[in-house]
Every structure is written in C-alpha cells, then in structure tokens.
Symmetry: C2
Subunit: 436 residues, 2 copies
C-alpha cells in the first residue's frame, strides 16, 4: 500500500485533474467499506451519508456472492441467449407500470440517457428537447448539451435545447404560498412549447429527473408531471423520467420516484443507473413497445458490448433481492422520516435552516443567511461539510448555490446514524451561530 501522500502525488500526476477529489484540500483515502461505513487507511470509521450508488450497503455479501458465482460461470455479451437478462428484465418490469416493458441494458446512467435521446428522436422525428433549469443528465457530449448545470459553464445552449424553470417551491418562481404550483410550473413548460412552435420547432422530449438532484434535492409538486406529460404528448413529444439517482426504492413508498406523482402518470421512457448494481457499472432504459418498435424500425443494430451481460444482470438481481429481503424501502421510510423530523426540530433553533425537504432517504437541508430573502448560505454549507468530515461524517452539497446539504445514504442507514449526524450538525450550527 502507498502512503496517502504517495497516492495523492501519483493521482495528481496520472489521473486527469478534471476528475476531482472530495475534500480537495485534504482528500480522504478510503480502503474498506461495509454497510453505511467507510474506513480510511488508519482504520478510522466514517459515516457515509452520500453514497447513493452503494444502495444496499457497501460490499453487501449477497451481491459479492452473486457476482462471484456468475463470474466463475459465464460473462459473455448479450448476443447469446442467457436467462439472467430476461429474468432481470422481468423482475424490473414487475416494479413498473405495464406499458413500460421493453428494456435496454447499458453500463452507466449517461449511456442510458444518451440512448433515451436516440429513441426519442427516432420515435418522434422531432429535434427539440426541454429540460429543467440546473439539470444534470450525464457526462457525454449529447448530455452536456441538455444539462444547464454543465452547458452554462461550457459550450452554451444549443438552439434545440429549451430550459423550463425548476419547479422549486422553496426558491423558485412559484412557492409554497402559491395556490397551485403544480399547474403554474406545468404551464411554464406549455409556454416553452408555445415559444418553440413560434420558431418552427417541434418537441422531441421533455427530459427531467423525477427528483431534481443537482438542482438542490427538489420535490416536484404533485400533479406537475401529469400535466407536463399532457402538454408534451399533445405537442408530439415524449416524457423521459431520469431515475438514475432516484430509483430502486430510495423514496421508500414507491419503487420509482416518478410514482410519487400518482397512478395517472406514466413516463414514456425511464432511465436508471447508479444504485442498480450497488457500484457495478450497470444501467438501463425501459420504454414502451411503440417507442422500441420505432427504434428497431430504423433497421440498425444497437450493440452495447458489456450491456446486459450475465454478471451485470446477476448483480442487478441480487440487489433487487436485498432490497426486498431487508425491507430497505421500509427502512427508507422509517429512517428518512425520522431524519427529516430531527432536522425540522433543528430548524426551530437555527434560523440558518431555511428548508428541510425530502422523501425517504433523499433529503435536503437548505441553508440561508436570511429567512425572508432566502439568501443562499453557501459558505456555511461548505463549513458544515468540512466540519462534519472532521467528525468523520461524509455529506456534500447541491443546488445552484451549493447551499443544500444533501443526504442520500446507503439504504441501510439507521436511526442511530440519523441521530448522530443531526446531533453533529446541531453542534456545528451552534458553533457557526456563535461565530466559531
């Protein structure tokens, strides 16, 4: 093993600096993990509040076992028939509305979102894409183009990309005091479509995370997606729900975050990724038979070298099993609710806490310097992250002003973990309040 300084020196030399480290001033070297705990090179334990990828807990033995057993047996590509891919697709289908029934397996959420664009184009033959402000949909060329979070800093906005306001009822255009924010925000998408039509454009897809994450752990007002889907459909487009961060029961009450919008809403394409393989590169797109048929109709093969291989699918199946056998959705409801209750209690003592929001184990704590103006407390949020690190707890921030402390821990996160992190935040905010 290299000493930490050696690892850092080699990393700085050998790995592109665009690949950033957490805590870049004093990065952490992690050598072991289990459940919701990380361990550094000195054996020091960190509580992990942010690894949503390691959904059923770091290094879950059932997942490792399933991977090993399949790796010993077979790992070909999906041009050969194999049971795992169909068994896995079937299991996933059971969690989804009936009309979402055709699967494409890939290696990352980015690959899934890029494929969603290809399918939407092929089906609608239209060009224009509507996204939410501050959205991030992946690291590929095509996804930078539809991610305001990235393109605003890079190559700018393409003429076929249209940005609708983020339906943020705390900080956005229409807030908690609005009588019908769902309708009001949906109407902003209608406006975007109308503007597009005036310029001769035609909507290909409305593309949004079911819970905007980089945007600041945002909950879409209930009813929003149903109305948006109506507008988008009648303009000839499709609704793509990006569940890369939010799927697989993180919200507790449902398997998919889009289901929070109610039974009358069903996207046309859903993409999934991060938690799907508990760290293994595994992602997926599911769509309707009609859209899949349009894609097949172009007569060109879609081949993804590693997508849907027997090992990836065995891992995916093991993850589904653990979610069920350990009732991790139930845990997400119980612990997530407790975590939010504790944070809301904190709010009464700390005026810096502007908002506490979330669902299941997807929780945001928004810090503001001024409760009235809701001025983002960016520096304080960075302080909280840094000081929690000193107390061996990992969190990070999101939102356009990086003032939202986010929680999206492994789904085995416990009541004690929730209590611990909130107690520590209480101390830290008290210190910050008193100028320390």
């Amino acid at each position: 093993m290299f000493r930490k300084e050696e690892t850092l020196a080699m990393r700085n030399k050998l790995i592109g600096r665009s690949c950033r480290l957490f805590y870049s001033d004093d990065p952490v070297k992690i050598v072991k993990a289990r459940g919701q705990y990380l361990y550094d090179e000195n054996g020091k334990q960190y509580l992990d509040c942010i690894s949503n990828v390691h959904h059923v807990g770091h290094c879950h033995p059932s997942v490792t076992q399933a991977a090993t057993a399949q790796m010993e047996l077979l790992n070909t590509n999906a041009r050969f028939l194999h049971d795992n891919i169909v068994h896995y697709a079937n299991r996933l289908a059971a969690t989804l509305p009936e009309k979402l029934c055709v699967f494409y397996f890939v290696n990352s959420g980015s690959e899934a979102n890029d494929l969603a664009l290809r399918l939407a184009h092929e089906y609608t033959k239209n060009e224009d894409i509507i996204v939410l402000d501050h959205a991030y949909h992946g690291n590929l060329t095509s996804l930078i183009d539809i991610s305001p979070y990235k393109f605003q800093k890079l190559n700018g906005q393409k003429e076929w990309v249209h940005v609708a306001p983020l339906p943020d009822t705390y900080r956005g255009l229409y807030r908690e005091d609005h009588p019908d924010p769902a309708q009001a925000y949906a109407d902003t998408v209608k406006d975007v479509i109308d503007q597009m039509h005036l310029k001769g454009g035609k909507v290909c897809a409305f593309f949004a995370e079911s819970l905007p994450s980089v945007g600041g752990q945002i909950l879409l007002p209930k009813g929003y997606s149903t109305k948006v889907a109506e507008y988008v459909h009648s303009a000839g487009g499709v609704f793509v729900a990006d569940e890369v961060q939010t799927g697989f029961g993180r919200v507790g009450s449902h398997y998919w975050a889009f289901q929070l919008q109610g039974d009358d809403f069903c996207p046309d394409i859903v993409t999934m990724g991060k938690p799907m393989g508990n760290g293994h590169p595994l992602a997926c797109l599911v769509t309707t038979a009609e859209i899949a048929e349009a894609f097949t109709g172009n007569g060109v093969e879609y081949f993804n070298t590693f997508g849907g291989n027997p090992v990836s699918c065995a891992i995916g199946l093991a993850v589904l099993d653990v979610i069920e056998t350990e009732d991790l959705r139930g845990n997400a409801i119980r612990v997530g609710t407790y975590l939010m209750d504790l944070l809301k209690q904190l709010q009464t003592n700390h005026p810096i806490i502007g908002d506490v929001r979330g669902v299941g184990l997807f929780v945001g704590l928004e810090l503001v310097t001024d409760k009235e103006q809701r001025t983002p407390a960016t520096a304080a949020a960075a302080q909280v992250v840094r000081r929690l690190k000193d107390k061996f707890i990992c969190v990070s921030t999101d939102g356009p002003w990086e003032n939202v402390v986010k929680f999206k821990p492994p789904m085995c996160f416990s009541m004690e973990d929730a209590k611990l992190v909130v107690d520590r935040i209480d101390q830290i905010l008290t210190d910050i309040d008193s100028g320390h």
Copy 2:
C-alpha cells in the same frame, strides 16, 4: 433455468429488438464458458474464435479472484483516494510512450471515444473530424455521427465530419501493387484537410482504429499513421487512436496496435476498452499532459460515477498480470502466425479465398467469388459462419460486404484450436466449391 424456447420468447418480448442475437435464425444459448470454450444448455462445447472481450480467456480464475477480493473490501467512486486507480494507471503507462501519461477511466469504449471528442474539442477549439470509411467508433449519439458504418444507414453525414478512404491494400484505392500505399493513403487525408480548409473548416481530430475492424480486419500500411499525424498536427488537429478492439497485446509483437507503425509514431489520445476488464465494463482514455491540461482548463469537473472504481481497477490489474504471466502476447504471435500459415495454405486450394491478412490474433479471411475482380463472396461467408456453427465453432464476418471471416479469439487460443477451425473451413469450402 428456462428452456431455450422460453428464454427466446422472453427475450423477444422484454429486450429491445435492436439488440440483435448471433445466429438470429437459431440463436445459441450459452450457460458456461472457460478459456476459449463456450458451453450451451446441453453441455455442448463451442470453440470461440470471436470473443475478443474475454481476452485472457473466459472466466479466468485470477480475474474472478481479484474481483471478489476487491468487492469484499471496497468499491467506492474515484472521488476518494485509492491505490488501485493510481497503481493501474502506472502499470498502463509503462506499456505506452512516455508522452501518453494522463488517464481517465470510464465504463465502455464508447464512453472513452466520446470523451476523446470532448478533449480534442477543448484542446484544439476546432470542429472538424476526419474518420476512415466504414469506421465504427461506438453506440453513442456523438459516435454515430463519426461512424460511417452507422451514419450512412441513419441520420446521414454531418457537415463537420469528413471521410477519408480506408487504407485497404487489398480492396481499396491503392493496392499491394502500389509502390507506396502508406504515402498515397496519407495523401488522401491531406486532400481531405485541404478541402476542409477551402470551406473554412479546421481539423479537430483524425480519429481511427489502429486496425480497422468493422472495415474488414484491415492493417494500415506501415508509415501511414506517421504521415497522417504530420498532416493533422500541422493543420492544428490531434490524432486519436481507437484501440478499443486492438489493444492489450492482441497483435502480439506490441502492446498496442498503433505501435506497429514504428517508434516515430505516437497518437495524442488513445482509447481502450473491450479486452481491458475481460468482460467487466472497464475502459479508458490516455492522453498527453498538454491535452489533459486544456480539458482541466475549462474549470468544469468530469465525473464518471463508476469510472476507475477499485473493483474495476483490480480487475484491470489482474488482466495485465495474466497477459504477462501466461505470455499471451507470445502465444498470440505463435498461434496467430500458425493460423495465418494454415489459412494461406488453404488459399492455394480454394480460389474463393481472396486474401488472408492479420497480425497476432487479429486475423481476416476475405472471400471473393472472382479473384481478379475481387467480388465479395458475401453469401459464401455467411455459409461459412453457419456451417462452422453446426460444427460447434463460433466465427463472424466483417467488412463493408460482410465477406471477411474474422478471428479475434481469447488470447489463450491454441495451435490445436487453429488447426481445428482451419480443417473445418477446408471441408466447408470444399463442400461449397462442389455445390453442396
């Protein structure tokens, strides 16, 4: 386990039909594999001549062991410091020219090639891309745009994409009787650049596989890349070598196929993928310090969720170890040479064999109906594939006319395997010759 018909029925229902099966008339169900052998649901053994991904042999125990050990320990993202990623980058660097020293780890060759485009754009600030005819660089939106093999069937050629002739000395513009095909083909790239300049374009990158695969298992004439690089560099562009199919010692004499061009040639960006993780979704881009710096210079993070995680890197390291300890490069030279010798002997008896070419375990057998006109024997090539399948040997075809039978087997392919497949091809060609 499902019966084969059930698997097929579920597959047809649940998996997008654009994801095609091998032998679509009567697909094969594979349940086990080891080394260069595949086993179907009845225990029948197939010799695998095409799985270049399973580079060191299917289900190599050293690779499985390394994966399991690391999966039990840790599999975080690369925002934490870890030894595996730097150790692995260091090992890869040792196989490359010194100036290729900054690594980006991703999950697929497609992701690597997309990133190559992003880096090239950021470094050169130019737009135009030159590719070889019939090239395929991946399944993403951005790569379909630069893959004549795909865009000719789909959305057509973008104005910033320029296609140079494939330097195929058997079937191309300049053939084996040309005094200097390397110079002549390089000059076609110069012409493309000149044409581009006339229209006000500026070259961003020349993008090519080091051995064009889909194009028909083509060997670039020696000296071609050096000359092309000169032209491209003096026009302000970079040279991207796509080694996704060809790297990791497949050519035997060298670790990377671009090195066949000689020591005076070094690409600016190299992408690698398929064989890198022996089936695990692992890929990579390596570039110069200058290009990496230009990419960092935009101030925007590049984050790839699974890229460079400790498990992927442990697997990558194990693959490198096996290549060395089992002398798989030596084996590629010995068996590849023997295979080509046998195929060349066949050529004297079977006029349908137009060309035998290759290097190491990257070999093509080009079938023609007419030796003079070199008319592609597409139907016969399909026959060879089908009849070899009946004899439990898997090969497939490539080339614009699908008349090139290709061999890119796991690197543990043996002398006996080579003898067996050539004997079977001899029988099949004899049957075809005699009208059976």
